[in-house]
Symmetry: C2
Subunit: 213 residues, 2 copies
């Protein structure tokens, strides 16, 4: 059943679902029990029909007049997005950004379960950051297999990203969250999701220049 | 002249330009002097015509047979994206992510010049992180005016993001880089560029679930 739903879900829908969760959690804190698609739509400046379509994909059915039970809706979206998964993840590169990701507890609620970290800086190896131990790159392949790790976060400098990608996929990693500016040449059967911070910043600084001229 | 170019540039082009710079910098380190649009296209798996169009927007003209002079091309893209700007920026929220952004020197090369930080945690106020002093939220408006700051990075928890946005824009901030999961209700004349990390992660964890089933 779940699969039938999953096959036709678009990436834009996948990106909107966490936005709904963010609003639902705030409403829950404000002691609301129910929410309508119209309320969510108003908060985000979306069309109500858009919100209703997105939510129905998760399999939830609203009640006439009252809408959706808040708790149930949060759970439904979370299940659909696999946020309760038990997949283990590792992180390669414990610089400033890697450190931030290790320290950002919130990602655990979104299905990112980092169990170990890797770096090639000898001063870091063996230490623990935010409770996660840092290992040498040499033990990467062994660790992936022994701990059955399937996801990886890359927060290395861009110039070694492809090399790290190759190491990870050879070791059996199936999903990669790439924070480097490098566009990775991907293998079949491996999922890559990239966060290009410098690209996002480029949009901002360029528009800023136009605003001033 | 520059403005005439700027008006017709699309956001996807703005996002591709930093990807080219990343490749150009690597080629420069490998001691190359010239590069062709075809080489860049091959590296990124783009169509050469796409790369040629994007680069021409920055105003640069290649030489027949040899292509573009590397150094000149890097400079041309940087100028176009306003990476040498003197705009000052501030950051609100010095948690793990704010800390990482303050520590990530690389953003300076991309036109992000953070001169001060703000937080409401009394234990942080008055301290310096990565050379940047942290101030109380109370002094925000005064600092924006006295230091002539025009850009801001928001790395607070999502639930206070809109409130922070309102404070920033009332103080005169014109461009905002939003790292919170909140979709900000924006005012006219203010540019917002959002990095939704939980949305990016949602795409990854959902696809991962499908891969396994």
């Amino acid at each position: 059943m779940k699969n039938k739903h999953n096959l036709r879900v678009s990436v834009p829908t996948l990106r909107r679902l966490p936005m709904y969760v963010s609003i639902l959690k705030r409403l829950k804190e404000e002691n609301h029990k129910y929410v309508s698609a119209t309320t969510i739509a108003r908060e985000l400046d979306f069309e109500p029909i858009q919100v209703r379509k997105d939510l129905s994909i998760t399999g939830i059915v609203g009640k006439p007049k009252v809408g959706f039970e808040l708790e149930e809706l949060i759970k439904s979206i979370g299940n659909f997005l696999n946020w309760k998964n038990n997949e283990k993840a590792l992180i390669v590169g414990v610089g400033a950004l890697g450190h931030a990701i290790l320290g950002y507890d919130n990602f655990k609620n979104y299905g990112l379960n980092i169990v170990c970290a890797f770096d090639n800086d000898k001063r870091k190896i063996g230490k623990k950051f935010h409770g996660i131990k840092i290992y040498s790159m040499v033990s990467l392949s062994k660790m992936v297999k022994s701990k059955k790790i399937s996801m990886a976060v890359i927060t290395t400098p861009g110039k070694v990203a492809q090399e790290v990608y190759d190491l990870l996929t050879e070791a059996g990693i199936k999903a990669i969250w790439n924070f480097t500016p490098t566009s990775l040449k991907s293998k079949e059967g491996v999922i890559v999701e990239s966060v290009h911070l410098s690209q996002s910043l480029a949009v901002l600084t360029h528009k800023m220049a136009n605003l001033n001229s």
